[in-house]
């Protein structure tokens, strides 16, 4: 059948918008073919394929902003939607935060390891990767294995009425493997493999990690409340960094939803901690050469030598904060691309030796904030929780909750490993590359009844 050219679609939207009398238009089109294989109890539960085009449209008229996201991309339907949007713009209120879209054209950096034709060619044989992961987890000690595999290829195109034309072609493949080594389901482990190119994708390794961890987690005892030195595994710390990346978004700072609101240029972590947002990372799961306003992306140091260095901006939040865009648009909410925790000099065993006594937490979920402004939160460890005694990983524990403050956590970082892992899964939306991170004096709570 005849395929829709997404560049033509973007161009059509911009021209139609301008015909309707708006001041500016941006059309961001995503065309993607995505495959998923879900598995549980060592067998495939469902395989899925999506073949979709999604159009996001931004228009401004007399400083009033309207937007839409549509999947019905027939010209007739798009015209109707744009007309409705213009009607809304006519009666809406002016946005005090309005700023013109940036004027192009721009030159964009060419990214490496973000496209692999071998992933494009994958068909139903992706089911084989799931089989491979299941086998590997079972061999490593798992009894029941579950998970999700995604592979996708596609293109994102941005066209704006301010002379911006940008294209980004990419591929992705990732697998989440969760292993259970007992019938009750408390001896858990998880493994991931996340990549833009097939040669760096390793479902067996992910399965092995899940299986081994679940085996180690057998026969856990209930943890005790108190204050501990904690070693956060990459999956766990990535979850916390994902939430922290939102705290850097100027939108959330302005909304009263960031604990970093009064921390710009202030030290919140030891001097050895540097965390960047890197949109150009080779094989970065969310690497992109342009932001949603068409500005060429760049590396930004979020925490530089322990100090909050910048918030993340689009042109509108930058105007409000009297600064320049950091190329992190989001038309409304600026966001990070790939969060990278700069590595340390510890090996894993050296980090444990340094911590001596405490708890190793491999993964977490259900992170919730009592107050986003203060940063008070709790999160529930899973997929391997172990006591560390005399610098060694000892017995498994269960039933604990990390109940602390996110800013205090950064302040109390004591060390981190050389080795890092790229993390992206159901509980980590923004890709994070992080080492194992040791934090002192972390509050652990448990059920009282």
């Amino acid at each position: 059948m005849e395929k829709v050219d997404i560049y033509d679609l973007a161009d059509f939207i911009v021209k139609e918008g301008l015909k309707l009398g708006v001041d500016e238009v941006a059309a961001l089109i995503h065309g993607v073919v995505k495959r998923q294989v879900r598995f549980s109890n060592n067998q495939v539960t469902i395989a899925k394929t999506w073949d979709e085009i999604v159009a996001e449209v931004y228009m401004a008229k007399n400083r009033k902003i309207v937007m839409c996201t549509v999947t019905d991309i027939s010209q007739k339907s798009l015209r109707e939607t744009l007309n409705k949007l213009v009607h809304v713009a006519n009666v809406a209120k002016e946005s005090e935060n309005y700023e013109e879209l940036p004027e192009g054209p721009f030159t964009y950096k060419s990214l490496s390891e973000t496209y692999d034709s071998k992933i494009v060619q994958l068909g139903e044989q992706v089911v084989g990767f799931a089989e491979e992961a299941i086998k590997s987890a079972l061999e490593a000690g798992g009894k029941r294995v579950a998970g999700t595999l995604y592979s996708e290829y596609g293109e994102t195109v941005l066209v704006t009425s301010r002379n911006v034309e940008a294209r980004d072609k990419g591929t992705r493949i990732e697998i989440t493997v969760r292993s259970f080594a007992d019938d009750e389901g408390v001896a858990q482990g998880m493994g991931l493999s996340v990549s833009r190119i097939l040669s760096k994708f390793d479902p067996s390794k992910a399965g092995r990690k899940a299986g081994e961890t679940s085996k180690m987690a057998l026969n856990p005892t209930t943890g005790k409340p108190g204050t501990y030195n904690i070693v956060f595994g990459p999956y766990c710390f990535a979850n916390l960094l994902d939430f922290t990346s939102m705290a850097f978004s100027a939108f959330f700072v302005d909304s009263g939803l960031s604990p970093l609101a009064d921390k710009l240029n202030k030290q919140i972590a030891p001097g050895k901690v540097t965390i960047i947002d890197d949109p150009h990372l080779p094989n970065g799961y969310n690497s992109r050469s342009f932001d949603d306003e068409g500005v060429p992306t760049r590396q930004n140091e979020l925490i530089k030598n322990g100090t909050v260095n910048t918030f993340l901006h689009n042109v509108k939040t930058a105007k409000k904060f009297n600064t320049k865009t950091t190329a992190n648009a989001g038309w409304i909410v600026p966001h990070a691309w790939n969060i990278v925790f700069k590595t340390g000099d510890y090996g894993f065993d050296e980090l444990l030796e340094d911590v001596r006594n405490g708890i190793l937490i491999e993964n977490t979920w259900y992170t919730r904030f009592q107050n986003y402004r203060t940063g008070d939160f709790s999160t529930i460890p899973r997929d391997g929780i172990f006591l560390v005694e005399n610098g060694e990983v000892k017995k498994a524990i269960r039933g604990i909750r990390v109940s602390d403050n996110i800013v205090k956590l950064f302040n109390n970082i004591t060390g981190f490993t050389k080795e890092t892992e790229q993390v992206h899964w159901w509980e980590v939306e923004t890709p994070v590359i992080t080492p194992y991170v040791a934090v002192k004096d972390v509050k652990i709570t448990t059920a009282t009844k």
Partner: protein, 481 residues
């Protein structure tokens, strides 16, 4: 609606290819969204999705595809693809998937409403948010507190579905709804302290629901109590006490520690990789898990509720489900796949949030059934205790065994009377201990529901739900955390 013929064509194609079962769902979701941040309209917008999702069962393996461009050629190509991936899946199964036997249904249903949200001019919708913002600021001015964080959203939703399957079921539905949220952050100028709370509203009803909600007053009341918490709340007691939970906390507990662990797909391990499994096992049906006054229900048939539906997304007629009856596990939530595995009929819990999502087991409206206590009777014999009216932070482990709710608006109870506000009391408790500690439940007139979007599935599917109940009393609880 246009393209219904393509949904039926998908069934034809599947049958010609010899599938064991095929269903197609043509679905349009249309949301009109208005967002106001600190009094400034951030953006107004439309979210519209329209397409066909097709699910097939072949040789005991399941495949799902979706398309959002409407040509016969593409539909044919995608059904063929679904068959191909279902066959590949079936090879990595020891046991074939079998769907439960269900009656063939031909029908249609719509939301009952008086004022169609789609007929309300956008400027009126924005005006509502501006009124709410003003009401919040008025509270700040009156009480001499700062309210620097005011994030407000109002959204109306129209969902059209045409569901057809190879057994002959055909159902059309049209759902209208209105929803909104507010996040309010207040600051006490003298100390620089912050308090913050999130609030959700939602119903499948016309715009007349805005009058019932009275959002300006609701949000102003919330801002006022946050300021009071900042200024007046004292440390909570640490000894073992009796606790009375308000409808909001009773509701979230019903949702998190009864609804979720009673989802049969979790019990069978199908969600294990993400949302997790359940501490509840198949063989626990009929087992006592709470005191005799505990009756927890999930009911999609409550008219105008946020979780309302007449037929689920597998064409099964909706009905009320007693999850816990007199403290005993009575029933789990099923779709046709889990019901097939249990050898029973589905109780219509299959929901799909868009054309590009598979139907999975979901809650609808989950609540604690009322008892016969007035609020005064619930607290009259408590010498020392805490009334936790609302919560801020909450979470629960992935087996739904260990949960925590931190009180937001909470009061000391002393000698049977409500006293001063207490700050952040923490109820951290296992599920069996929670439901076994309930010894009294409030009357029907004390029932309240709250709206939420329940998260589950991969890719995620935010399902509109209500949860609620009357206040309930729990004996001998050590607050901590």
């Amino acid at each position: 609606m246009e393209h219904e013929d393509l949904a039926e064509y998908a069934i034809e194609v599947g049958e010609k290819l010899g599938v064991d079962y095929i269903e197609a769902r043509l679905q349009r979701n249309l949301n009109n969204v208005f967002l106001l941040k600190n009094g400034v309209p951030e953006a107004s917008g439309i979210e519209s999705s329209f397409g066909i999702g097709v699910r097939v069962l072949v040789d005991g393996g399941m495949g799902f595809v979706s398309v959002n461009h409407f040509t016969k050629e593409l539909v044919k190509e995608k059904v063929e693809e679904a068959v191909k991936i279902a066959k590949a899946s079936s090879k990595v199964r020891k046991k074939p998937i079998v769907l439960s036997e269900e009656k063939i249904v031909k029908g249609s249903w719509k939301t009952i409403f008086r004022q169609n949200p789609l007929d309300v001019p956008p400027e009126e919708k924005l005006e509502i948010l501006l009124d709410v913002d003003k009401a919040i600021l008025d509270v700040g001015n009156r009480l001499k507190a700062m309210i620097p964080g005011r994030l407000l959203q109002l959204m109306d939703t129209y969902i059209y579905k045409y569901y057809v399957n190879s057994e002959g079921t055909k159902i059309r539905s049209e759902i209208l709804g209105v929803s909104g949220f507010a996040v309010i952050t207040v600051v006490e100028p003298s100390t620089g302290g912050f308090e913050q709370q999130y609030m959700d509203v939602g119903a499948t009803k016309g715009y007349e629901v805005l009058k019932e909600w009275n959002l300006p007053k609701k949000c102003a009341d919330l801002a006022e109590i946050l300021i009071k918490i900042l200024r007046e709340a004292k440390k909570p007691v640490t000894e073992e006490v009796d606790v009375v939970l308000g409808p909001q906390i009773v509701g979230i507990a019903c949702h998190e520690s009864v609804g979720h662990p009673y989802e049969a797909d979790r019990i069978l391990g199908r969600e294990a990789a993400q949302a997790g499994e359940s501490f509840v096992k198949k063989e626990m049906l009929g087992q006592k898990v709470g005191s005799e006054v505990v009756n927890v229900v999930d009911d999609p048939t409550i008219p105008n509720s946020y979780g309302y539906y007449r037929y689920d997304d597998e064409g099964v007629p909706a009905r009320k489900r007693y999850l816990i009856k007199n403290g005993v596990i009575n029933e789990f939530l099923h779709n046709r796949e889990t019901a097939g595995e249990f050898g029973i009929q589905s109780n219509a819990a299959a929901r799909a949030m868009g054309y590009n999502r598979e139907p999975i087991v979901r809650m609808a409206n989950t609540y604690l059934e009322p008892g016969d206590y007035s609020f005064e009777e619930l607290i009259e014999d408590i010498k020392i205790g805490v009334y936790m009216k609302t919560f801020g932070e909450w979470n629960i482990d992935d087996r739904r065994f260990n949960q925590r709710y931190i009180g937001k608006e909470a009061y000391l109870i002393e000698k049977g009377e409500i006293k001063h506000l207490v700050k952040n009391p923490i109820l951290e408790i296992t599920t069996p201990a929670f439901w076994s500690s309930v010894d009294a439940v409030g009357k029907a007139e004390l029932m309240e529901f709250e709206a939420a979007l329940c998260g589950k599935g991969d890719p995620g599917q935010g399902a509109p739900v209500w949860h609620g109940g009357p206040p309930a009393r729990l004996r001998k609880i050590k607050l901590g955390g």
